[in-house]
Every structure is written in structure tokens, then in C-alpha cells.
Point group: C2
């Protein structure tokens, strides 16, 4: 069924189950037109959904795009969004099958992404963690939060990936890394799918709202507590060098939108995990514990309660961390 | 998979194909909080999507809800939206399987609805119409446009379905009908599904943006023109009695959001159609012709070009017809 009809029609094989997710991006909440290159914004609308589908271990297939278009939107900006989205869709082998557009006082993109899991593959949920399971994350944490701070301080990333906003070639190189983490996150979809397929992880969640917030969600769903060691957190080079260690740790604990995967692995499965991925692709950061809802961060031998300080979607406006 | 994980997981049988659609409602564009009872708004967010799925002849199954929530939204209004949505979901046997919420400067609801068609059932598309096929619509046209005008003039519908805004018990009864058409449209989902299942219609589209606009879309997809007879248009009693015939015809031709079905039927299938539904449930309004893109309305023996004057989503603001 070609695009443009009232609905899209697609086919799943009889040996697949359907997976559905949706995530939206709103101007002034998730991005600003003045700081987000449109191509990266378009790609990112897909990324945040691909990350959700991958975190269940599913394969993304088809998506619908809802566009909310304000009167003052420049044609070029809209074309940039669609070009970025389209390039990323091709790269990730997902097909736009429909959507809708409406006038709106605010620019927003809402993607609904459908994927499939082979029947028999257990989706990787938040709820399967058990006390004693070891916690890992992919990539590094806090880069997106730093990128956001840099944008607020006047740094910009151009279409060629070059950052401008302060003196020094080295600072610009580091800033470009952080800006990219924020403007164009690149989750490790393949690892997430393998973790589900090979049943290595017991639970997983994608880090959209910050480790302290999303770890809490995983613990609540699994009925466990957690202890993490701040010394183990994978800190991005840019955060360490531009802001120092204390600040880098704060951003890693509470900064959102890294879209890395947080997952729990029973100790007996760790050899299998190591066969699949090693540092720096994954980092052990702590362990699930038996005290429900009790989250602690251990730092220099001292345990302090880990309080969710990530992004709360209903205390909105552009977030400040 | 329970709600609250990163994505929802559902199962289709191996003998079904998947149908996907999405439609959004934005405050100031599609509704105003001050005039739309929240329960009706919640139900309507689902209705506009159910109408799309039904117009293909599919069965609606699962949906995702994206909420855009402004800071000044009263808890009671949000609870009303969710209550209305939930009641309508139960009534139409569709299941909320996930969604997302975000802070937003403007209240908006975006529903993504997934449905199924038995493999082998040809979905009812816009593109199947042929010259000579007879055009029908369900229900009556223009009631929603009248309802919107009445809202703008100060009429209100309360939670019990009673309209207030002017003198006279008879006017209030008629106003309530029109307000309901606008605030709580009730498409004929069953007929649409039967038309597809029994292969009676050659093409169909749901009337979301007005007959003159949506008929044009059907004709463009089918490569035909169309001739409709204004004398045949099913005009709502409220429009005729509150505004007179000329105005009722204008609203029927160009008023959007009736969510009735426009469909084309090859002449040899008309007996089968009549076995399925008769006036007033369906009304013959014209015929597809062989001149591509040429749409005419015949009135008192005179043919005038029918120019799309329905809602254009990118000339936004609250529409005025």
C-alpha cells in the first residue's frame, strides 16, 4: 500500500511478534531550532525510537511520522529535517509507511516505530533483574548533558561536524564530541539486540532521562535496589577535560539523553557477555541488590543515596541540569 | 508485555496483515480547551484514527498515545481526557499498549493505531476508483462545520449532551446535534469494514478535511474526475433549520471533520451495497468521470467547478469556513 492512503499496510511473517513504540521531540523542550542542525534533528527523531526498539532486542521495521509545523518554519529547515530522517531511515533499514501533518503553534516531531521479534525470543524488559545481577552500561555517560551545556554557552556544531564557540583547537575537538552526543546520539543497537537474542541480560532500559532516573525505573520494575560505584562510571573525555571529574560524574549520574543501554547480567552469564563485548564498548558500573527501591552510589568507600535528578517530563521547559 | 517498558509487544496471527495509522489533535488548531469537554476530546483522539483504520476495511487492535502537556493544564482536564479515551477504547475493543508524554507549550494528543486485515482481504484504498463508479457517503455532511460555527458563536455542549447558548428549546436540540457532530463524531466503522470485506467499494476515503478536498484526493489517486449533484447531498437537519439550504450545502461541500466515509461503487455492485445499507445510512451523491482532476458540482442543472475549500493543514490557525 503506497504512502498517502488513510493507513499503511505491512506484512509480518507468522513467526514474528510485533513491537511498537513512540517518542516525541518538542521545540523548547527537547531542542531549539537555533542550535539544532535540522538534518541531525530529523535523524534524532528516529534514533530515540530505534533505541527503545533495540533495548527490547527487537528489529525495527516501519515507522509513521507525525509533524507539527508552525507557520514560521522555514522550508529549508523542514527539508533538512526530512533529509536527515530519510538518510537515517535508510541506514537503519526502516521504512516510512505513513504519517500525518498538522499546523501547530510549536514545532514537534512524533515518530511511531514498529518492529518485530522472532516468536520465542523473550523481549528484554525492565522487570527481569534479580539481586546479585551485575549492572553494565554501553558507551559513556554524560556526554549529552555536557553537549547541552555547551549549546547554552554559545557553542555550535555545523553541518560538517565542526564545533565553534571558544578558543583552542583542542577545546573545539572535545566540544564537537559532546555536541554530537547531544545533537546526534548513536546508540549501540546491535549489542542490545544480541543481548536479548542470546538471553545474556536479565533486564535492560535505554538511558533517556538519566542514570539516576532510569536505574530507579529498572529497580522498581525488577523489585530490587542497586549499588553503583561512581569510580567505575564511563566518563567521556570531553567532560573530564572541559569540566573536571566531579562535574563529569554529576553529568554521568543525572544527565539524560545519552541513549546508551543500562542492563543487568546474572554473574554466570558474564563470560558470555565478555565474548560479545568488552570495554570500552561496555562498562560494569555496579550491582542489583535485595533492598527494593534502595539506590546507593559508592564513592571513595562512602555510600550515599542516589536520588533521581534526571529529567522530569512534567517539570519541563528546556531542562537545566 | 505490560505498559511501562520501552516498547509494547503484541501478537498478530500468521494470517493477518498489519495496518498502521496516526493522527494528531493540537490545541488552537483542532480544538480549544474552553469549548471541548475533555471526555469528548479524549474519545475523539481515538475516533479520528479508528476512522482511518475502518476506511481501509481493517480491524483496529492496539494503540499508542503521545501526550503533549502544557504546564497550565488542570489535572481534572487531563483526567477527563484519559477517562474519555479509555471508555471509547473499551467500546471499540482496542487496547492501549504504550505511549509517551512530554512537557509542551501546547496541549496535543497524537494517537498511533495498529490494526489488522485478514491476509487476502484487499485493503480499501483511495486509488481503486474507475470512471462510471457511483459515489456514496455515509451519514450526513456539514454537521461538524456547523458545530464549530456554533462553538465560535458561544454555544456549549455540557457533559450530559445538553446545548446552551441561545433561546428556544428547539434550537438547543438542533444545536446539540451539530455540536456533537463536531465534538464527538461517530463514524460508521462497521459499514466501512463490510465494504472492504465484501469487495463492494472500489475506493474509499474518510472525510476528515471536507468533501471538496477529500473527493479530490480520491480522484487524484484513482486517475478520475468526479461529478456530484448538490441536490443529493445528505444535509443535517440542524444545518437546514438553523442556517438554511444554501449555507447547509456550503458546509456539506467544504466543511471538514465529519469522519463519514466517501466511497465509490461499480454499478454492477450496487445491488450488493443496497443489501448491506440503505438511505439514510448511505446516500448516492454523484459519479466518477473519465476527465482526470476535473471535479464539478451540478446544481439546478448547472455544472460549476468544485474547488477544494476544505481545511488546509498548513494554512492553520483555527479554521474558519
Amino acid at each position: 500500500v503506497p504512502i498517502g492512503d488513510d493507513a499503511a499496510c505491512v506484512r509480518l511473517s507468522g513467526r514474528e511478534d510485533l513491537v511498537l513504540t513512540t517518542d516525541q521531540m518538542v521545540e523548547g523542550v527537547h531542542f531549539r531550532r537555533s542550535t539544532h542542525p535540522p538534518e541531525l534533528l530529523g535523524a534524532r527523531a528516529l534514533t530515540v525510537n530505534l533505541s527503545d526498539i533495540a533495548s527490547l532486542g527487537a528489529r525495527p521495521r516501519w515507522f509513521l511520522l507525525s509533524l507539527f509545523l508552525p507557520e514560521d518554519l522555514a522550508d529549508r529547515y523542514l527539508e533538512g529535517i526530512l533529509a536527515g530522517l530519510s538518510t537515517e531511515a535508510r541506514r537503519q533499514r526502516v521504512t516510512l509507511v505513513g504519517g500525518n501533518l498538522t499546523a501547530s503553534p510549536v514545532l514537534a516531531l512524533d515518530v511511531c516505530l514498529a518492529g518485530s521479534v522472532p516468536r520465542g525470543t523473550k523481549p528484554l524488559l525492565r522487570s527481569g533483574g534479580r539481586s546479585g545481577d551485575v549492572l553494565f552500561v554501553t558507551g559513556s555517560l554524560g556526554g549529552s548533558a555536557l553537549g547541552l551545556k555547551l549549546l547554552q554557552e554559545g557553542w555550535r556544531l555545523n553541518g560538517k561536524g565542526v564545533a565553534r564557540g571558544g578558543p583552542g583547537r583542542q577545546a573545539a575537538r572535545l566540544a564537537a564530541l559532546a555536541l554530537r552526543s547531544h545533537l546526534a546520539p548513536a546508540p549501540d543497537y546491535e549489542l542490545a539486540r544480541n543481548l536479548a537474542r542470546l538471553r545474556i541480560a536479565s533486564a535492560a532500559i535505554d538511558l533517556s532521562d538519566g542514570l539516576s532516573t532510569d536505574l530507579r525505573r529498572l529497580c522498581l520494575a525488577s523489585g530490587t535496589g542497586a549499588r553503583i560505584e561512581t569510580e567505575l562510571l564511563p566518563l567521556p573525555e570531553a567532560a573530564l577535560r572541559l569540566r573536571g571529574k566531579a562535574s563529569a560524574i554529576r553529568m554521568a549520574l543525572h544527565g539524560g539523553e545519552d541513549y546508551q543501554l543500562l542492563f543487568a547480567v546474572p554473574p554466570r552469564k558474564i563470560p558470555a557477555l565478555e565474548g560479545l563485548a568488552r570495554s570500552p564498548r561496555i562498562t560494569r558500573i555496579g550491582v542489583l541488590t535485595s533492598s527494593p527501591k534502595r539506590l546507593v552510589a559508592v564513592s571513595a568507600g562512602r555510600a550515599v543515596p542516589l536520588t533521581p535528578a534526571g529529567y522530569d517530563h512534567l517539570r519541563g521547559g528546556v531542562r537545566r541540569r
